[in-house]
């Protein structure tokens, strides 16, 4: 187990290094950050001074080695735009995205899973067929449009829910969260629903497909022949066996959600890292872009690791590679 972990961490370190190099070279190839920030009416001397201030007058390799040197000490640089440490900016915005992701995942699971199970167990009913058709809408409708439609219907026309922004937050263990009061929840409902639609559709289809496959298998037939109650057959035997693909997809989707749910955050003016990163890319704010990519890569690595470990817990046949000896 420990050899496995160490190997994973080493792989992670290599990926992080590669990521940071790509971000550096990428932004350098696109354009000049100072050009994006400086007032167009400023003189060339001002632009040159700004470049010197931000360290952009050094050759690229020197900028990169300075960055790596600082990064190893925990300093990922100050944003070119805000002059605030990049890690601080990300830490400020991350809780909002985490919150949104959490609520979206919960909604997707709580709504998607039972619907998928129902559709899988009773595939020929009208209800099941409508669920499946509905799920097609879930992943084909563009989330930008769906988000705006939600706002139009629920905020502007019906006036039930607020249209944009995050609700008032309360502090819990040093982290601000908006989930502990009704107003906060009313603000998070629409964006989370918007995000959850796609995941819901995926979960419904996966669950249904998995159940259809598993319910026809021999061991299920045997369990039913043995006389086990239907409940037990489904919840203990069938579902456990379809969990692996579902967890894989959930793991990937979770990473995807965390990476910024950019469109939903833009439409709902949700103050998360997705918005921060798009703004930073447009303004060529390299430290924030690099810091963001490193944080996301680290998160992805962590999630994949967790998923792998959970596999081995669910399915006793799976052993993590290093154990095989």
């Amino acid at each position: 187990m420990s050899a496995f972990l160490i190997r994973r961490l080493l792989q992670a370190a290599i990926v992080l290094m590669a990521m940071s190099m790509i971000a550096f070279i990428g932004i350098f190839a696109v354009g000049d950050p100072v050009d994006m920030l400086i007032n167009p009416e400023a003189s060339e001397a001002d632009a040159a001074a700004a470049r010197a201030n931000l360290g952009l007058d050094q050759p690229l390799w020197k900028q990169y080695t300075t960055f790596v040197g600082n990064a190893l000490q925990g300093d990922l640089g100050d944003s070119f735009v805000f002059a605030i440490p990049a890690t601080t900016l990300i830490a400020q915005r991350l809780p909002a995205t985490l919150e949104l992701t959490l609520v979206a995942m919960v909604l997707a699971l709580v709504i998607g899973f039972p619907l998928g199970v129902y559709a899988g167990l009773n595939p020929d009913t009208m209800a099941a067929r409508s669920i499946m058709t509905g799920s097609i809408l879930g992943f084909s409708l563009p989330s930008f449009w769906v988000g705006l439609m939600f706002i139009m219907v629920f905020s502007v026309i019906l006036g039930w829910l607020p249209s944009t922004g995050r609700g008032p937050t309360t502090e819990v263990f040093g982290i601000e969260t908006s989930l502990l009061n009704w107003e906060g929840l009313s603000h998070i409902l629409l964006p989370a629903l918007n995000l959850a639609l796609l995941k819901m559709a995926l979960i419904i289809r996966l669950t249904r497909a998995g159940l259809r496959e598993v319910m026809a298998s021999d061991y299920i037939k045997f369990a039913r022949a043995k006389g086990l109650p239907y409940r037990r057959v489904v919840w203990v035997h069938a579902l456990k066996n379809i969990l692996i693909p579902i967890i894989t997809v959930l793991g990937l989707e979770l990473g995807d959600l965390l990476a910024g749910s950019i469109i939903t955050e833009a439409v709902f003016a949700w103050p998360g890292i997705g918005q921060l990163v798009v703004n930073s890319i447009n303004l060529l704010d390299r430290p924030v872009v690099v810091a963001y990519m490193l944080v996301i890569v680290a998160l992805f690595v962590f999630i994949n690791l967790t998923v792998d470990i959970v596999y081995s817990l669910i399915d006793p046949r799976i052993r993590l590679a290093a154990d095989r000896a």
């Binding site: 001397a45 201030n53 002059a83 439409v267 918005q275």
Partner: protein, 527 residues
């Protein structure tokens, strides 16, 4: 629909009356389109930062909503015979902590600007160009010494905000970000800032100009224009900046909101490049072979291209009527405007004749570039212009890209014909002459934005002479002469002036501003 509306309003009314506390203390929520990059007023010279800084800080001079220079913290000023600019400060002004404003605070602020704020991506020291010394002669009198006449100096001080020496001494940008040094003389006090998300102020009840009607002001950033609009329609925000042009017609019929527009000093224009050679990949003969010379060297070609554009179409179809045709590079009503002069006639036949006379009877191939995420309706405008030029006989290709890429290619002097916009924020003709039209000269700081590399020594001479002319009428005459040279030369091909629109709740009014600033001080309850 109407019934649902009525029911909703009733329901909302019921809910709101339950939350009665909010209606007593008037809170204002404003949604902005672009981000503040910093709240330290000397950190980054950028339109959004400068306009929001005016809630907490003030400067010696101000620009009115119509673009005129007005007294700010300085109640009057005069030039002394030895070239010193003398300011008399307003009496009775106090900082938010109660300390009175002194001339030494002004000297401290200007010195901080001259010293430069670390890590600044755009400093303010250019505005103090020509100032050789500063002195606080008394608590209310200030001298700025210059060695050559600087007639624009009072105008240049508009964006230089005065901070408190007591709190600002030794304070770095971080102290402003945390609020510790955010002590100004303005109508609002700083409360909090979350970068890229929101900026919150509370009322300064002791403001020298009278207390504002809003107890708390929240500036929220909503870059997506559709959600910004939806939040106004849903009642979640009270004022929004930058109402998209396409939605104007539909919104005029909504009775829950009102729209307030102002023309601005920002215009969209096409810039011909003078520096590219005949081997440029962006123009060629129609069969692909290279042209004999850069076609834009010939004034007949430039004039023909301008004559072929019907600007009424651009105003009415592309911008939904939300634009003003730019007949010159200075808007009507500001100094430097040449009465009755119009460089934007539309005459397709004459254009064809000129093009043939210049040696291109069959036209030529051309690629027009623009950025797709910074200029209002840029892509649609180039498409329409491209079609108009096709009628002229050219074979036009459009290339649009994000501003970061566009800016780099433009700066590399690669683009022989591009669409861009220019905002003359201080409203003086110098803003159009010095940077975009004078010959590029790095040492002298001229022509920094002149990326077409247009060059006319007579224009340069007139512009330089006007820069040191202290008499207002003489200066304007010189500037007009210089501008006329650029107009006759078709150095740029102007299209339209931007019209900026704000949207408010029906029971509010907004005083629209020429400089596009969004200020809580411009919002008033409508009677």
């Amino acid at each position: 629909m109407l019934l649902t509306r009525r029911l909703t309003t009733l329901a909302l009314g019921a809910v709101l009356s339950l939350g009665a506390a909010t209606s007593v203390a008037e809170e204002l929520k404003i949604a902005l389109a672009s981000v503040h990059t910093g709240i330290d007023p000397h950190y980054h010279n950028n339109g959004q930062n400068n306009s929001s800084a005016r809630h907490v800080f003030e400067s010696l001079t101000k620009i009115s909503a119509k673009g005129r220079l007005e007294p700010g913290l300085a109640k009057s000023w005069r030039w002394l015979p030895d070239g010193t600019l003398e300011f008399d400060l307003r009496e009775g002004v106090r900082f938010h902590d109660g300390t009175p404003l002194r001339a030494s605070d002004v000297v401290f602020s200007f010195q901080r600007i001259l010293d430069g704020v670390p890590n600044s991506p755009g400093a303010f020291n250019g505005f103090l160009q020509g100032v050789t010394g500063m002195e606080a002669v008394s608590d209310t009198r200030l001298h700025l010494k210059t060695d050559a006449p600087q007639p624009l100096l009072p105008l240049n001080l508009v964006n230089l905000y005065i901070v408190s020496e007591k709190h600002g001494k030794g304070a770095a940008t971080n102290d402003y970000t945390t609020g510790k040094a955010m002590i100004g003389t303005g109508p609002y006090k700083f409360e909090s800032w979350v970068p890229g998300v929101s900026l919150v102020f509370t009322r300064n009840d002791e403001y020298w100009g009278g207390a504002e009607p809003w107890e708390k002001v929240t500036l929220q950033i909503m870059s997506n224009e559709a959600s910004r609009l939806a939040s106004l329609l849903a009642g979640d925000t009270d004022v929004i900046a930058g109402v998209p042009t396409n939605d104007m017609e539909r919104l005029k019929g909504e009775d829950g909101i009102r729209l307030w527009s102002s023309p601005t000093t920002r215009y969209t224009m096409l810039v011909p490049g003078f520096v590219q050679g005949p081997d440029s990949e962006h123009f060629s003969a129609k069969d692909g072979s290279p042209l004999k010379a850069n076609p834009f060297h010939d004034i007949r070609v430039r004039k023909a291209l301008s004559l072929a554009i019907d600007r009424e179409v651009i105003r009415d179809r592309v911008n939904a009527g939300q634009a003003v045709i730019a007949r010159q590079l200075m808007p009507e009503g500001l100094t430097g405007y040449i009465p009755e002069y119009d460089m934007t006639a539309y005459d397709l036949e004459e254009a064809k004749r000129l093009l043939a006379e210049a040696g291109y009877p069959d036209g030529f191939k051309l690629t027009v570039h623009t950025s797709n995420d910074r200029i209002v309706n840029a892509v649609r405008t180039v498409q329409v212009v491209g079609q108009m030029w096709s009628r002229l006989g050219l074979d036009v290709t459009i290339d649009t890209m994000p501003h970061s890429v566009f800016s780099k290619r433009r700066g590399a002097l690669e683009l022989p014909m591009y669409l861009s916009s220019w905002g003359n924020s201080l409203g003086d003709p110098a803003g159009v002459l010095v940077s975009p039209l004078m010959t590029y000269d790095k040492e002298k700081g001229q022509g920094a934005a002149n990326r077409g590399r247009y060059s006319n020594p007579e224009l340069d001479r007139l512009a330089l002479e006007s820069a040191v002319e202290v008499d207002d009428a003489k200066r304007e005459a010189l500037q007009q002469q210089a501008l006329k040279i650029a107009y006759d030369d078709y150095a740029q091909i102007p299209l339209v002036w931007w019209v900026y629109t704000w949207g408010t709740r029906a029971d509010l009014s907004y005083e629209p501003r020429l400089d596009q600033a969004t200020l809580a001080m411009a919002v008033r309850p409508a009677n």
